[in-house]
Structure formats: structure tokens, C-alpha cells
Symmetry: C2
């Protein structure tokens, strides 16, 4: 989208299969004369994702936000939702949008996920659910959260937007929680341009998620209950089907970039993300935590001056957004002011990586 | 989606441009390496639609439901929304979804739009807005509704899902109301597989609609306010751009079908839709109103037996859906039980139309 795109390095770059591969995949939609409402390509993608991810259930949706909205509609009951301030805005905005109240709980300074030891203190009689984010594909303390939820009869929604391909304790991360959600946005490892998915292992919840994403329909003339439009088109499903065969290459190339950063960055002066134990991670983001915001801004300026654009992600800490009306979250606010995601995508060249690392290390 | 598709006549059939036209349009996305977040194709489609529809503003969205949700979030204030029971379920489901209460007002038996003479009696201190549907592209009594809204300081949202290309008093129907919405679903005259749009002439509302459909963003690090994800992908925008040059043909061919039905059906025994005065209609649907549900079911059975599948649309009257908790709406319930939309799409053959009319007329 700019005239110097070959010279600019952004934090991410959409993975594109070859145009001809995509053009070939969409022929099915023309053959069927069928473009949406769960056509052959959506159904095929669901089956292939179940197999690839080794999961039992999936409902593909038009983006990664609708699944959060639907889960909150089912579980939120206009109550208080315990959540993390360190996430993309969607995870808290959907809580407010769905007429619930976000109750922020600060994060663990190393894993960057919600601090499970602080959750119970935040529970009140109005609490209905916990909405926690597996930040940068790094799992929350699932075991502890599950125990707390069980003890207090709360539902657990995991915003697993970043988690395509992540496993925890040898199981897909999407198998955890009452509902897990994922994003298939163009910036994600696997994508459908815009898209997402919701997952559950509970058949009754699955039924409700399903009808909720299709206007509540029970056939053309009857309704199971309330619903909206969470349907994804065949045009988007075709993108997913075209990308899926490239996943091994995508993961391998991203892993190389991550390992380069791991080996070359000067970790005496900055910190990286601590991945939780028993996790098979997906190399989705490379966040770097600086000593101070001043240091971050200096490095950012230096990189920008060389046409390199990392992203301050996540910033700001969500509790500080005015309409969220959140309490102070010292750790999240501190981390948010000092964290930046480095360029990480398929096709980054060795000399580009060397330049990035040199510019960072020499400005610490 | 079936093995006998050449023999089956459904109520509608998605208009498909040639595969090669679409394959050519999407090259832009590959050239830009850009698949969503308002890329070149979305912006181009918005400009072309402004010109085609002769309107000043448009925001294209991922479907036709999100604009209703956003408008209700801006205007609803968890209050009572006066609405029509004769519409697709989305128009009332979004009211409930957005934590407002639908207050149904019965319809005019000829125009099938909300009966403006009954609106004022339904207004209470909790009323915040009127959400009215231009049913089958047939305008509501816009002049009367505007006067009522002004008198009572209510906002007006028009569900104009069916109204692509409709003009009222020589102006695009989308120019009326505080917000109008449209659907670009695959079954619509103009479509983007899944898609929609929202329209307003008020710059402040335009600003709010815009940020609401993109997570409230004011740049990457700040927020204007609350928002969700209403973004449409380049893959969908490309479909719209590919179809737009065919609009004259689409309208012309649909008009021929409508005129055939108008000339051949036995209107001594059934009624058609009365189009409002000063309306340039778009030939979007061909609803037929029978004397009784029994008669409708008999005709439907006869048509089905010949592989012809009209659609009971709209059925049921929305006030009768359990979760809507609606009062009795005698006219809407009566019409809903007796109305059926006939096959209407580009490519219907003369012999198919003759067969449909013969089967209907001979079963009245």
C-alpha cells in the first residue's frame, strides 16, 4: 500500500499463497453457484482444520471478535467479567459491547498472561465469567484458572486469537475453557483475510454457539433462540484452504526468525517473552521488553529512521482506556509502556534481520 | 449444492460474474499484498457505490447486521425501540442483542411497512429510536416517520437491507433516517458474498459509525471510543467491484420477471405488493399474498412437487418469536401466514416462468 514497499519492513506481512492457487480454489464456489451460508469450502476448511489442529469441534466465523461477542452473550449475563488488561482491545471492548463490566486483574510480569493468583480476590457475586487471553500464543495458567472457575461456578472464555497451532500438555490450546476463540485475520499465522473460529467440547454449548452465529435459525421458519450474523463467505474460506498446505513452511520460516532474534539480541539489556512450561509454541510474535519507555522510543525512532516499523503491542494497557473505567494495573501498564513486537513474517531476509538486531543492540 | 441443480428453481440464485472477471479483480490485492483493513479494493468500491447510488457517504461492512448493531449501540441506550414485526429476523434480533427492548407496531396491510399511524401510541419515556424496515425495497412512510421522530426527539434507523438502487422522491433511499443500512449478502441484487453498508448524512454520526466498525481506533495507539470489528475483506470487495458493471443487466432482467408475473398471475385471487408513491423500485422480491395460509400451502406443495421452491418470507411475524416477548400483531401475523416470495433472479427462463404461473393460477 505504499510506493516503497520493497524497502519498508513492517512488524508483519500477510502471507499470500500464489494468486493462481487461490484462483483455482475458488472455482468450487462458481461450480456450486454458492458464496456463503456454510458452503462446500467452509465445510471443507472446518474438516481440514479439525484434522490439522487435532480438535473435535470448530465453527468458523467472519472474524475473531464475533466469537467473543457470542460467548459473552451466552455466559456474561450482563455481569462482571474478570479479564486481562494486556491484550488487544477486542477482548475488553466486547465485554463492554455485550453490556458486561470488565474487571481487570493484573498480569504476570514474565508470562504476560493474567496473574492467576490475583483472580479470586476480584470475584464478586456479580462475576459470571473469566475472559483470559493467551498473549502472543503463550498459554495462561490453564490449570489454576480451571480450578478457580470450578470452585466459583464461573465460565471460562479463552481469547486464543494468537494461538493457531499452539499445544499445551500435548493438546490443542483450543480444547481448553468453556469456549476458546481464534482469529484468522490477515496478520495472523493462518488466515482467511478476515475470519475466526470458536471452539468448545460441550455439545450443548456447541449447539448454542452454532445457532447464535446464524440468527438463531432452526431451519428457515423456526428459531432456537437469539442470534446474529457470524457467517464467513466461501471467498474467505478459499483463502484458508489455499494457505493450509503451506503451514509447515510458515512455521519453519517463522521459527528461523525467532531463533535469529533469540541468538543475536543482547538480553543483558532487554527481555523476551517467557513461554509457559509444557507448551508447543507457534512463533506468532516476537515481543521485546525494554528497561524503560524512553529506551523503547529511542530504539523505535532508530528503526523507523531506517524504514523498519515494529509495533507497540499491546499498548495501551486496556484498563487505561477511558470507557473501560478500569482500576490501576501497575504491571500491565509498565509492561505496555516498554514492550514492542519486532518484525516477524515469512520472507524476512537474513540481511534485514541483521540490520534490525544491529540497530536494536547498538541503541540499548 | 445439489445434484439436480439444473432442474431446481429456487426463490433466488446468487448472481455470479464470470470467474475470470473475479480472478482478474483480485489481482490488486496480491499486488498490494493487502487483504483487509480498508485496502484499495474496499476504498474503490466505496467510491464507485457513492457514484452509482448518488450518495454522499458510505461505510462498507462485513455484513448487513453489524450496521444495525452499531446504530443501536449508538442510539439505543438500552431503551425501547419501536420496530416492525414484518421483516427478516435480524432487524429485531439486533435490538434484543444490543440490550434494548423491541416494541412492535403493526404494519400497513398494503405497503407491508410499519403503520406510521400507530407509532405515536407506542412511544413511552423509554423510547429511544425507531427501527423501520423498507420491506422488499418498498419505502416506509418516510415523511410521517421523520415528523414523529422530530416531535419526540427519537432517532430513526432504516433497515434498508433490500433497497440497493431504490429511490424515493428522486433521492437514494439510503439518504433518509439518521442511519440507513444495507445488506450485500449473496442473495441480494448487488452483493459481496457477505457484506453490507451503513449510511448517514450527519458528519458526527459518520465519525462514530466509522470508529465503531474498527474497534474504536484513533490510530494504532489511541481510541475514540467503543468499537467492534465490522471490517470487510478485499476478497469480498472484489466481488462487489466485479458485479457493479453488471447492474443494468441485473435490474433489466429482474424487471422482466416482475412484469411477467404482473401480467400473468390471476390477481382476482391473490394480491401483490403495493409500491409506495414516488418510489423508483428495484425489483428485489416478488411477494404474493394469498387469501389464506391453506391456499398458500397448497400452492407451495404444488410448486415443490415440480422442483420449484418459493420462500415463505417473512415468516413468522417477529413478535411471535418467543424471546422477542412481543404483543399480538394481527395484520403482520395474518400477512406473514399468507405471503410467499416467488422465484426472481437473473437467468429465469420464459418456460420456467410460464410453468410457475400456470401452477399458481391453476391452484387458486
Amino acid at each position: 500500500m505504499n510506493s516503497q514497499k520493497d524497502k519498508i519492513i513492517n512488524v508483519t506481512k500477510t502471507f499470500l499463497p500464489s494468486l493462481s492457487e487461490y484462483q483455482s480454489t475458488i472455482k468450487t464456489a462458481w461450480n456450486n453457484e454458492w458464496l456463503t451460508n456454510r458452503g462446500e469450502l467452509v465445510l471443507e476448511l472446518e474438516e481440514k482444520l479439525k484434522s490439522y489442529l487435532d480438535i473435535s469441534n470448530i465453527i468458523i466465523t467472519n472474524n475473531g471478535t464475533i466469537p467473543l461477542q457470542i460467548a459473552l452473550k451466552l455466559f456474561g449475563g450482563n455481569g462482571e467479567i474478570i479479564t486481562t488488561p494486556f491484550s488487544y482491545v477486542a477482548s475488553s471492548a466486547t465485554i463492554v459491547w455485550e453490556n458486561c463490566t470488565p474487571i481487570f486483574v493484573d498480569i504476570d510480569p514474565q508470562y504476560l498472561t493474567i496473574d492467576e493468583s490475583k483472580i479470586e480476590k476480584a470475584i464478586t457475586s456479580k462475576t459470571t465469567a473469566i475472559l483470559a487471553t493467551h498473549v502472543f500464543g503463550n498459554p495462561c495458567n490453564i490449570v489454576a484458572i480451571e480450578a478457580i472457575a470450578k470452585k466459583h461456578s464461573l465460565k471460562v472464555i479463552y481469547d486464543a486469537a494468537h494461538c493457531f497451532g499452539v499445544k499445551f500438555n500435548n493438546k490443542s490450546i483450543f480444547e481448553y475453557g468453556d469456549v476458546s476463540t481464534c482469529s484468522f485475520h490477515a496478520t495472523k499465522i493462518f488466515h482467511t483475510a478476515e475470519g475466526g473460529a470458536m471452539f468448545t467440547n460441550d455439545l450443548e454449548i456447541q449447539h448454542k454457539l452454532f445457532y447464535s452465529h446464524n440468527f438463531g435459525h432452526n431451519g428457515p421458519l423456526e428459531f432456537h433462540g437469539l442470534g446474529i450474523n457470524g457467517k464467513i463467505s466461501e471467498l474467505q474460506a478459499a483463502m484458508g484452504l489455499t494457505i493450509l498446505p503451506h503451514m509447515d513452511k510458515i512455521i519453519t520460516e517463522r521459527k528461523k526468525v525467532v531463533e535469529f532474534y533469540n541468538n543475536k539480541l543482547d538480553f543483558s539489556k532487554v527481555k523476551d517473552l517467557k513461554i509457559r512450561e509444557n507448551t508447543l509454541w507457534n512463533f506468532s510474535y516476537y515481543p521485546l521488553i525494554f528497561d524503560s519507555e524512553k529506551q523503547l522510543l529511542q530504539v523505535q525512532k532508530e528503526l523507523n529512521d531506517h524504514n523498519i516499523f515494529p509495533r507497540r503491542y499491546f499498548y495501551p494497557s486496556l484498563n487505561t482506556i477511558e470507557y473501560m473505567k478500569g482500576s490501576k494495573m501497575p504491571i500491565s501498564e509498565s509492561v505496555a509502556s516498554r514492550i514492542m513486537c519486532l518484525p516477524l513474517y515469512v520472507g524476512l531476509k537474513l540481511e534485514e534481520l541483521e540490520k534490525i538486531v544491529l540497530l536494536i543492540n547498538s541503541n540499548l
